[in-house]
Symmetry: none
Subunit: 159 residues, 2 copies
Amino acid sequence: MKNKLNRLNAIRLIIANERIGSQDELLKRLYAQGFDLTQATLSRDLKQLKVAKTTAVDGSYVYILPSNPLYKRITKGKAVREQQVRNGFVSISFSANIAVIKTRPGYAGGVAYDIDEHELPSVLATVAGDDTILLVIKEGCSHEEVLAHLSPIIPGMEM
Amino acid sequence: MKNKLNRLNAIRLIIANERIGSQDELLKRLYAQGFDLTQATLSRDLKQLKVAKTTAVDGSYVYILPSNPLYKRITKGKAVREQQVRNGFVSISFSANIAVIKTRPGYAGGVAYDIDEHELPSVLATVAGDDTILLVIKEGCSHEEVLAHLSPIIPGMEM
DNA sequence: AAAGTTTATTTATAGATATGCAAAAATGTA
DNA sequence: TACATTTTTGCATATCTATAAATAAACTTT
């Protein structure tokens, strides 16, 4: 419950659902959830997540998730290029043989479809609501395996 | 050539076409174009334009324009101009103090938002339907003024 | 044109964020 | 396990950004 992946997910969730205007503010929210870190680390996390700071309609500053263009690095032979992908992925967390994937509102169906389409060896099935996907993990497969299989499908997830 | 509107347009153009990573950097570019201002003013300009600072694919920080309008630089011979990449704009016509802007189906709201966002001195308000925007022109402003103010926001309009 | 009002700008500084470096933790390898 | 390598983190601080207060400039109104 205290690793980096969980923390990054928590950051995404907080930013997706609240108006956060500074790192110190976000730091307090994270602390309230049991995460213990410094502003320096948070700065690096936000950089990794490509979170942006902009101005809200009311004139205050807010952090926003990189909903729009997300880039994926594609290596084919020695050539490296970047491909823009669109997707509503927000976070993923696990509980036993179930993974809960949160997406931006309305995106769950689309993301679940992408996952199903690939017939991953670690995924038994998915059920999608509006912003949540329940993913049933196949018997004997680890969470790491699931992450490894999902990351190429859901860019921005590999962290 | 030294008023605020021109400066804001210059800022948009620079940010749209170069990788600017800090206000001081942007300040230098503006200075090179003959704009004389301080970092404090620039900070307020960026706030007004709702420019965001985020992390680029290469890990550096960059300023980006509010997601909606996307600009690109078009070079034809020696002439360089900017054009909005994806835009629903179709046509504009005038009747007294009203401008009627037609867009592609579904784009009216987005385009109207872009217009509102800039708080143009010649625009009193906009109302958007699905493919039509009614724009109320401020008392005493000419159609040419409105066009002049809109064109940087809706490139391709002059063509 | 003078007086009042709003908007824009600068200066100075407070506040927020990024980062070099060293240490610690995690991961890989023999 | 011991050792090497990579990743993560905190500390301290440099860098960057926002804003209060004062002033100037641009408009309005009388």
